[in-house]
Symmetry: C2
Subunit: 321 residues, 2 copies
Amino acid sequence: MASEFDLIGRYFTRAAPADVLGVGDDCAMFPVPAGRHVATSVDLLLEGRHFFSDVDPRALGHKSLAVNLSDLAAMGASPLGCVLGIGLPQADEAWVDAFSQGFLALCDTHACPLIGGDTTRSNQGVVISVTVFGSVDPNLALRRDGARPDDDIWVSGTLGAADVAYRLLAGALAPDPVRLAATRAALEWPTPRLALGRALAGMAHAALDVSDGLLQDLGHILKASGVGAVLDYAALPVDPALTGLSPEDVAHAVLAGGDVYELCFTAGRQRRAAVQQAAREAGVPVSRIGAVQREPGLVVLDDSGTPMPLRTRGFDHFGLD
Amino acid sequence: MASEFDLIGRYFTRAAPADVLGVGDDCAMFPVPAGRHVATSVDLLLEGRHFFSDVDPRALGHKSLAVNLSDLAAMGASPLGCVLGIGLPQADEAWVDAFSQGFLALCDTHACPLIGGDTTRSNQGVVISVTVFGSVDPNLALRRDGARPDDDIWVSGTLGAADVAYRLLAGALAPDPVRLAATRAALEWPTPRLALGRALAGMAHAALDVSDGLLQDLGHILKASGVGAVLDYAALPVDPALTGLSPEDVAHAVLAGGDVYELCFTAGRQRRAAVQQAAREAGVPVSRIGAVQREPGLVVLDDSGTPMPLRTRGFDHFGLD
């Protein structure tokens, strides 16, 4: 390793919490509360594929951890710590400083200390690998395979803003600086719903975070649980920043748009008040958007109660098999 | 995610052990034995930087996990599982099949199940990120900061073969097919010393694995422990495959050659018999190569007991500060 990269590693080195062995040994070490299991998730983020080369490095630092914390949230787990692997084409200290600020600020917000890592030169683009660890009661963890017929289907927050921001930046939508300003934070500064996930542990039957689009991700729950679902399109929480877009662009954004990091979950009908109470305590709105049914398949009903022709509108690559 | 990459993910999907939630949910989940801490390490391996583009994918799969298991070994930890992030320029199923065979065979050897991951297309080269988890008694863990004056310094196995193989493949040494055949396995199929690490837990005072070269890595122990050391060059276990190389090439290989993944550790002089017994039980030879001393600095004595002029021979980039 070049010494300049050792230097860069120091931007990520902080004092470890008590009982934790942090950066600087062969491994990091941390304790796990008695009776709980470790929940872990890894995400690989590659320049030019998962983020634009000119992204604000502070936002990228935030998002690199946020997408992993979102996986912990979707299990109902509480963060214990994280490790970061980062490959950089050059030792750009200003870039690293900004990236580390965004990353470490989110570490602090959620008490998820950075306890280890690997810093290396990349002769390609920027490569980021984050692995998070959380703890969860295995009997209360929110899995994907627990949805039951007649469960309500819920989603947190609003849908569509991140997709619209992405398409504006990628040139797939006509330039619109006002709309970009209103949607960009959803794409670049997602909020992991950790408090909501913890509150739902033991209450929701199944959950995940919407990273690849509502229909595709809900499809994972349905497949894992061996059930189907009907969604009410009018009940979807469309982000206000989408006002004025064509119905087709709105439908794409809310049904197929990825990078959302809201929680989609199912719960018994008798838990409606409890779900709403949990959402209030977590400080994030939730919307009841449909119901699980015994018959396989995923149907979205439009305002008149007619199934929307998803396949003919370009959604057949969802592979909802 | 393109469906072809979902397909590729299946090469890595195996039934999880009892009590473990494996591939397929937002997070993997695993229990940790009571009273033990989690030890974790991440390594990022990039094509063209950490491995040649034409490397045997089965060997690469093995090595990607081996270098992480070596970090667990250096803590005295026992594997619990691992997660893999992999970015590929194209969906080459034959390559992935071979890679997964090498990776999963080592998982099986060390009871370290692959429990989660992230598979994505890379518009750069092949990107591999492995995070391993192990368990260890925090009071017995082998840290870097425990070396004491008058400790013996030990190293397992032999030194130099991986460096010579690397230099032959990179063209830094004249072509020599016989020597390449004799050294290549050391570079491409390293053996993590997990049994030795476990046996040394509670016995050695400090340990690490030699990934960046003996002098540089031993320097980490000395710095963390606030001590110095004298090494006896004649006592270093030079790999027999180095026979016939120039003294300079041998010295470079054994003192500065990386990619070794042997354990370097210190232990009290009164534990010599116990260390040798642990090594016999672990099935790997160990060599006593020097001693820790109170005075800072790292000196290597040649056959006549004279300090070798390391700095004038190109070793000053080790940064032994």
